[in-house]
């Protein structure tokens, strides 16, 4: 069991390198940009896969958490506190090295929050919100849960679109790159392209390892138990409410982190990242990849997000994801990679029924 997991991650790492080399060899080095963005979206989706596939809880609000991450990072790092330099609070922040000086648009100097501080703030806020709404929301089941998470995502979107200070419909742009450590910057720009590619997918690899570990461990077993027969799990001592909440918060934090990093990479964020369509897209990808399968979800995300970002779906982007969602749910609810083709054929023959059904 154990070598299996590490070997899988190693193979994945090799694949990441192979894709890079292939892209360069094919003269398509610029693919790396969309591939990097794909990696961050994949981070959101694998968290959701854990929540939906293992804990069995649907969330249509992941886009909301992604946006919280992105907007907090964007707002704080594009803030200009220079005019308020004299104030005690600002001076204190500056003394604590929480602020940075950066050139503003007019050649002057702006005083903004250090990206690391913004990152921590975003994670804390996201985790806090997830915790706060998770407690009541996770008591709900089925369509109530779906609707509640949908409502959450929509509220976030509505607030973002309606708030002038956050850029309203235009969002926030001019977000500076995030220097993680000297020499490693999350940001656009051709010089950093390769490094960002490996950083992003490296992060995905780390997340996958942690999640794969979790699934095999006592906590992962408890989650699968909750999904399989919640009453029995409770009878065996599993505090189901706490486990569901922890998974919900974990998935939210992954989305927040992805939001922060992608915003720095893109140099900005807009309210469309909080839209219902985005949340649906994430669910569609998890459905395609197989709700119980982390690698399946990763593969589905890599392919679908990349194609979408390169524009292959054109104006029908949303329709494609909607269509995929319906098709997968109708024909292969366990995900395409686990599709039971014989069962499917049996279902299509009129009058006959496939034996047994899934969860």
């Amino acid at each position: 069991m154990r070598p299996g997991r590490h070997l899988q991650v190693a193979i994945f790492a090799a694949a990441v390198v192979a894709v890079h080399l292939a892209a360069e060899a094919g003269g398509k080095g610029f693919f790396l940009t969309q591939l990097t963005m794909t990696a961050y979206y994949t981070l959101v989706v694998v968290g959701l896969s854990l929540l939906m596939g293992y804990a069995g809880q649907i969330s249509l609000g992941q886009a909301g958490f992604f946006s919280i991450g992105g907007y907090v990072a964007a707002a704080l790092t594009t803030l200009d506190l220079a005019p308020h330099r004299a104030r005690a609070a600002v001076a204190a922040l500056a003394r604590a090295h929480l602020l940075v000086v950066r050139p503003d648009l007019y050649g002057g100097e702006a005083l903004s929050v250090h990206p690391w501080v913004a990152f921590v703030a975003a994670v804390l806020l996201g985790a806090g919100v997830a915790w706060a709404i998770g407690v009541p929301v996770l008591r709900l089941k089925g369509h109530y849960l779906a609707m509640a998470t949908l409502a959450f995502g929509t509220i976030v979107g509505s607030i973002l679109v309606g708030t002038q200070a956050l850029g309203a419909a235009d969002g926030i742009s001019g977000v500076p790159p995030f220097e993680l450590v000297p020499g490693l910057r999350v940001g656009g720009g051709a010089a950093d392209r390769v490094r960002n590619y490996y950083l992003a997918w490296g992060l995905v690899a780390v997340a996958m390892l942690l999640l794969l570990n979790l699934v095999q461990a006592r906590a992962g077993r408890a989650l699968r138990a909750i999904h399989g027969a919640e009453d029995a799990a409770r009878a065996m001592g599993v505090d189901t409410a706490r486990y569901k909440l922890a998974t919900f918060v974990l998935a939210a934090v992954l989305a927040v982190v992805a939001g922060v990093l992608l915003t720095h990479y893109n140099g900005g964020i807009g309210p469309s990242e909080a839209s219902v369509m985005k949340s649906v897209r994430y669910v569609a990808i998890v459905a395609v990849g197989g709700m119980g399968s982390l690698w399946g979800t990763l593969s589905a995300s890599a392919v679908l997000n990349f194609l979408s970002l390169r524009g292959y779906f054109g104006a029908y982007d949303d329709a494609v994801f909607g269509g995929i969602l319906v098709l997968v749910m109708l024909l292969a609810p366990e995900g395409i990679l686990q599709a039971n083709l014989r069962g499917l054929l049996r279902q299509l023959v009129p009058g006959r029924r496939a034996a047994g059904e899934e969860k």
């Binding site: 929301v137 089925g142 679109v161 669910v283 329709a319 909607g322 749910m329 059904e357």
Partner: protein, 296 residues
Amino acid sequence: MSLDLLLQYLVAGLTYGSIYAVVGIGFNIIYNATGIINFAQGEFVMLGGMLAVSFQRVVPLPLAIAGAVAATAGVGALVEVTFIRWLWKPSVLRMIVITIGVSILLREGALLLWGESVRSLPYFTGDEVSSIAVGGVRFSPQVLWVLGTTGLIVAFLSVFFGHTMLGWEMRACASNRDAAALCGIPTRNLVTLSFVLSAAIGALAGCVVSPITYTSYAVGAGLAIKGFTVAILGGLGNSMGAVAAGLVLGVLESLSVWVLPTAYKDTVSLTILLAILFMRPSGLFGSREASRLKEF
């Protein structure tokens, strides 16, 4: 705020609230027959309005509306037959995701057909500037059309479910599908009928409100959420509750501009939805046990 202004907001709230109520009733009809929450409900309203606008270019208004209602009802039947009918004991998760997917497909289909433009039907009587005065309040005659149509829909459904054979059969089907089937009731067709009925009333509502609010391909999702809020608020499955809840929501939303910037108006219904789900999922008028019984 003067009394007149307050009444003005009230009228606006009741108008929108009636539409929310009809969407909520649509949710209830399908939910009662199948236990499914049909996320695509809002799209039926959108389709009704959009189709009517297109038809109205070639035929007189009443015919255009009738045509739109019939066509949307057909779409409802199609959705049921294509996506719902042949599923074998699907899980709740699967049903939710399927109906969400269907709503997206309908939305994108509308985008394909009509583009992003915003349309509206002409006012049924008078035009944009005509108004009726009652007390100190002035409102468009279309408001009466909206309220009247909603009232007619509610009345029709009461008679249908309360006094017709078909309505009774649907209620039997809703309350115990297997027993109804054993009585020879064609349950599968009744499920289709529930979709047809929901689509039809949704479309009618869409037509009657479109002169006031305009329709475009994207209005469905917002309506679905509000309609769902109304259905839950009134007690899932309880259509009289939905009417009351719809009016309440409409009025609250309308009056919210008093305290909130207009940009945040939509958050009112969303917050109410969350509040009701957290505190009393059985709704204002539903019973605790009933809300638990309909677990898939």
